[in-house]
């Protein structure tokens, strides 16, 4: 189920960011459950028809590549056959072993709550600070300017089982 975007009127959100149709980001991501986990390079390419979510190792080697279009996602893992499913999050959880909330992350990485977000709080400068969404607690630690837009630089998302930390060092749109 693709997560619908947030109801615009409910919160003072930056419209230009919400209206971004095509964007690409490069960053670092740490995924942890208990003591186990790993860090990876994150490359995300979003277009109106699809998005690409890719995790890479220290020398750029692909560790997981998720391609999602409405209704079908494919997952490529090194030395394994391509897998596909209508549900992107299930595909990642079942085959990559990590229930990464990619459908919601699509909004979180741009500093936007998703349609299930509650207890949404803003910081003194009017930027999103924290919210809760389907058991995830999301927190924004640092912001940056990219081509005139204010976008997140560092954020964290945590639920009972998993902890994600993201640092986004390159935005293109």
């Amino acid at each position: 189920c693709a997560t619908r975007s947030i109801d615009r009127t409910r919160y003072p959100l930056p419209t230009e960011v919400m209206e971004l149709k095509r964007w690409e980001l490069d960053g670092r991501i740490a995924l942890k459950n208990g003591k186990e986990g790993f860090t990876a390079g994150l490359n995300w390419v979003e277009t109106p028809e699809s998005y690409l979510f890719e995790l890479t190792g220290p020398l750029g080697e692909t560790r997981a590549r998720l391609n999602a279009t409405p209704g079908l996602a494919t997952l490529e893992l090194p030395n394994e056959p391509v897998l596909s499913s209508p549900n992107t999050e299930l595909l990642l959880a079942d085959h990559f072993g990590w229930a990464v909330p990619v459908e919601s992350l699509k909004f979180w990485v741009r500093g936007l709550p998703d349609a299930n977000s509650e207890q949404v709080q803003f910081d003194p400068e009017g930027r999103l600070q924290t919210f809760e969404s389907r058991g995830w607690q999301v927190r924004y630690l640092e912001w940056q300017q990219a081509n005139g837009l204010t976008l997140p630089k560092r954020l964290e998302a945590r639920n009972e089982q998993l902890q994600l930390k993201l640092s986004l060092h390159d935005w293109h749109f």
């Binding site: 670092r28 890479t56 750029g60 080697e61 590549r65 060092h169």
Partner: protein
């Protein structure tokens, strides 16, 4: 002399090595590539330090036994047992002995300065690794992964057989960093 012998002689001549590097990763699906740069140091046997300082901060240290990865931007420290198959940690192959090279790779020489390594272990991260030397010193590394990504690493102002202190290949995690401990049996 076999390609493996030639490559081993080249690598054996370098007991320690240090250089600046520029890494460019290009992807199968034409996303724009990522550039990063930093410093690489290695010392036989099995020790290396891979320090990225642009556009993000990352420090990889192989102590010869363990691989530490420190990423201050996401305040994480990861430690893994050093995987012995060299296909998993290509930087390690540059500081490994002749026998482990032969055990891990099919080695062909394109020329006296260019060597192509294909991992024998099918689960390796890379399908092909190319090394290029100039005057006996490593200047370029090219890596092809199994999903169409290509990484080029160019080394500049390389120095060989210089004194590199033990501390360069040791790591103590900072207090606040979040430790991810993937070692099989921790002390």
């Amino acid at each position: 002399q076999s390609a493996a012998d030639q490559l081993s002689t080249l690598l054996d001549k370098t007991n320690s090595y240090s250089a600046q590097f520029q890494q460019i990763v290009s992807h199968a699906q034409g996303q724009k590539g990522e550039k990063s740069s930093g410093k690489f140091e290695l010392r036989h046997p099995g020790k290396f330090r891979w320090e990225v300082n642009k556009p993000y901060q990352q420090l990889l240290i192989s102590t010869g036994k363990e691989l530490w990865i420190y990423e201050p931007d996401i305040d994480s420290v990861t430690v893994n047992d050093l995987e012995q198959q060299l296909g998993a940690t290509p930087a390690l192959l540059l500081s490994s002995d002749r026998q482990s090279l032969i055990n891990s790779f099919h080695i062909n020489a394109k020329s006296a300065n260019e060597y192509v390594l294909t991992p024998k272990d099918l689960g390796a991260n890379f399908e092909k690794i190319e090394l290029r030397f100039a005057n006996g010193v490593l200047v370029e590394l090219n890596l092809q992964d199994s999903l169409g990504s290509h990484t080029q690493v160019l080394f500049t102002d390389a120095k060989t057989n210089i004194k590199l202190d033990d501390s360069r290949f040791q790591f103590t995690p900072p207090e606040n960093a979040d430790l991810i401990d993937n070692r099989r049996h921790t002390e």
